[in-house]
């Protein structure tokens, strides 16, 4: 039975936001700031974009909460691996 779901999320709005964030990234990458500042801002922007794709295009915002936990579950492992091994080269 074709039931029309709740009104769709504003996909185009998200698209515009992604475009703006990408533009910001391009700007920040070439500004004469310190490398650490640029890295932190760029990573934050990238994570924000990724979160928007995940929440709206992959519908995590509208799925049961468990699915969101499932989606982010591997991330702490990724952080642990990369952080610990970079310590190997900075001591």
């Amino acid at each position: 039975m074709a039931e029309s779901k709740h009104t769709h999320p504003n996909y185009i709005g998200v698209f515009v936001a992604l475009g703006v964030l990408t533009g910001l990234e391009l700007l920040v990458a070439f500004l004469p700031w310190s490398q650490m500042t640029r890295i932190l801002i760029l990573l934050a922007l990238a994570v924000w974009k990724a979160a928007m794709v995940g929440l709206y295009y992959m519908h995590l915002r509208y799925e049961p909460g468990r699915m969101r936990w499932l989606a982010v579950a591997p991330l702490p492992l990724a952080v642990i691996l990369v952080y610990v091994v970079t310590r190997e080269f900075r001591w």
Partner: protein, 205 residues
């Protein structure tokens, strides 16, 4: 037969009936998310290695724009994001029962996705001609491995999308059963998501 009855249930886009509450979504969607979990770890290995090697031996790596063409890749990034939009529009169309819209947006996704791969290949040829090859130190090694596997995943995505598009043209998807569209869509958005991270880390930092 118990399992045959489970397959015939009315609303296939809901969790399987007659079972204890689980993830709250139908099996195929849960399965795709679980699979994407493993993909996150796979790209962690590749991107993680890049980050680690860069911390270990920064002199092997170049500043943004020195070797890699940021502008054309930025356009490519924009293209891939567009393909995510067309994908989600395709999904929204079939949710509303608009089968013509589904077909139109799926074709658009395939075309844009294939163009992304095309631009990447063009970029690779350009870089190789300049002498920047996989054996070109740590930079070449990590760049080609990360972007190469990403491109491989995009290519697989395009192939799967072609299958789904063909099925759409055969009228196999409806508003009440479009699991294939949703599941392939999830994979496609994931591939876009990885690129968002990759583009930032590899081209801009």
């Amino acid at each position: 037969m118990a399992h045959a009855a489970a397959l015939d249930h009315e609303d296939v886009m809901q969790p399987p009936p007659g079972c204890e509450p689980g993830a709250g979504v139908y099996n195929e969607k849960l399965g795709m998310w679980v699979f994407l979990g493993s993909e996150i770890m796979f790209f962690t290995a590749l991107i993680g290695a890049y980050i680690i090697l860069r911390v270990a031996h920064p002199s092997s790596f170049k500043e943004p724009g020195e070797v890699l063409a940021v502008s054309i890749t930025a356009v490519n990034t924009f293209l891939l994001i567009c393909s995510s939009v067309t994908m989600v529009k395709a999904f929204a169309s079939v949710q509303d029962g608009n089968l013509a819209g589904l077909r139109k947006w799926l074709v658009a996704t395939v075309v844009i996705g294939a163009s992304f791969v095309g631009v990447q290949i063009y970029e690779y040829q350009h870089l190789i001609a300049k002498g920047f090859v996989p054996s070109e130190g740590l930079y070449g090694s990590t760049f080609y491995t990360m972007t190469g596997f990403h491109g491989f995943h995009v290519t697989i995505g395009v192939i799967c999308l072609i299958f789904v598009t063909i099925k759409a043209f055969q009228g196999k998807y409806t508003a009440s059963d479009h699991r294939g569209v949703e599941v392939v869509g999830l994979y496609w958005h994931f591939v876009d998501l990885v690129w968002i991270i990759l583009f930032t880390i590899v081209y801009l930092i």
